[in-house]
Amino acid sequence: MLEMRSVRVVRGGFAVLRDIDLSLESGRTTLLVGRNGAGKTTTLRAIMGLLPIEAGELAYDGADLRRMRAHARAALGIGYAPEDRRLIPEFTVEDNLLLPSLALRLSAKQARERLRMIYDLLPELPALRARLGGHLSGGQGKIVALGRALMVGTRLVLLDEPFQGLAPALAHSYAETLARVRAERRDLTLLVTESGPQLLEALVDVKLQIERGRIDSLAPARSDAAESAP
């Protein structure tokens, strides 16, 4: 559903992404691993339209994403959870979750439905709904950011370093949450970056290694990935 061909991104005169080829298949989970500075975050940001692509192609369901601004990409159902949560601190959790529906001008009914779906998927959230975004612990914030990304990303969700900054116990519970989302929403496509990839082994279909702005090796993470894919 998403194709990157020979994508090049330059920041401050320096090519952060040199030649990225990436292809996401519908309903699969792709893990992008690599050290800090290898270009994982840049790849996600380039997909979201937060960074200009210097050369190469970026297509989504055959449509040219490069011609669309970031907010229009969100409208296509691409959700994004940046590494450091970045909730709106003066909004409640529920307002944070509803912000995309406001921005995308969803009807009240649609917004309610999506919110209910998020609350069902992430049962930690209803209890937090009235808390301010700025008053959440790290783990809670991560879950809210995931919920918000799912609110936008009806088809594709990009998660940047979801475990970064989480204590091991919290990271485990987050991974379980993610596995539950995965099980409930089989149609959803996920692209996850991670520098310590042990936690996601069970749910990853495709694992890619990014090094110096290039995706080097393609390796299926699970031998049964091909069978379980629709």
């Binding site: 601004r69 959700g79 709106i88 003066e90 406001l102």
Partner: protein, 298 residues
Amino acid sequence: MSIVLPLLVDGLAEAALIFFVAVGLTLVFSVLRILNVAHGSFYSIGAYVAVLLGTWVIGRGYAPALTFLSMLLAAALVAVVLGPAIERSFVRWTYGRPEAVQILVTFALFLIFEDLQKLAFGVQPYSQDAPMQLLGVSSIAGVVYLNYSIALIVLAVAVAAGLRLLLARTRFGKLVTAVVADREVAQTLGINTERVFVSAFTLGVFLAALGGALASATSGVAPGLGAEAIVLGFAVAAIGGLGQIEGALLAAVIVGISRVVAIYFMPELQPVAPYLVMLTVLLVRPFGLFGSPAMRRL
């Protein structure tokens, strides 16, 4: 006492006019993160257009009450014509560039607007007095007040409250809050930030032009008005804390009162008062009354 009260009303009425400039400035700064020197020009252009419209209304023999409408219309006209055009061309170009460039681009616009106004309106002062005469005066305990001054004060408070409501309750306000908090994330949630920028900038222009339009009924409109308005606006915005609506309101009141006090004790130095207040406030609170520093993570 009998002299302080009317002075206070005068001071606050003046504060109200500065508030319109400062709040627009602060709004534009918090959303676009640009200190717009040309903001003062919108104030003076609003004033000129309001006088022209007002004199036209009176000249055609329409009801003088219509001049209130014409002031509002003038502000709206200036905002709609100049706001989007300026934001989309020059201002947008400066996003992400060094502050010196941002300030200079808007300063260049200010210089250009100053001379365009001189070319269009000459150097002689323009004025209209219909609105003020219409409202008349009232006297309380033997002291006479201009009703127009009181109307200005009420209007400023209403605008502050209205802006607060707009930001807290409406869809537009929530989008603005999100953009102010995190521009980038706002985009990924589907918010068209460019549209928010245009709208916020235009709203800022409207507020400045409204201030100018309302001021045109209290004093003459002549070259230099915009230059004076913008520095006062800066001072008030800085005292309140950049980006703070309530801060701007409180700062405007403090500045208004300080000018009254100055008039009472040392009328010559009345124009210094706002700056002395600003220096004092920033000495104690470096980011203004309502502002707060951002700490860098290491």
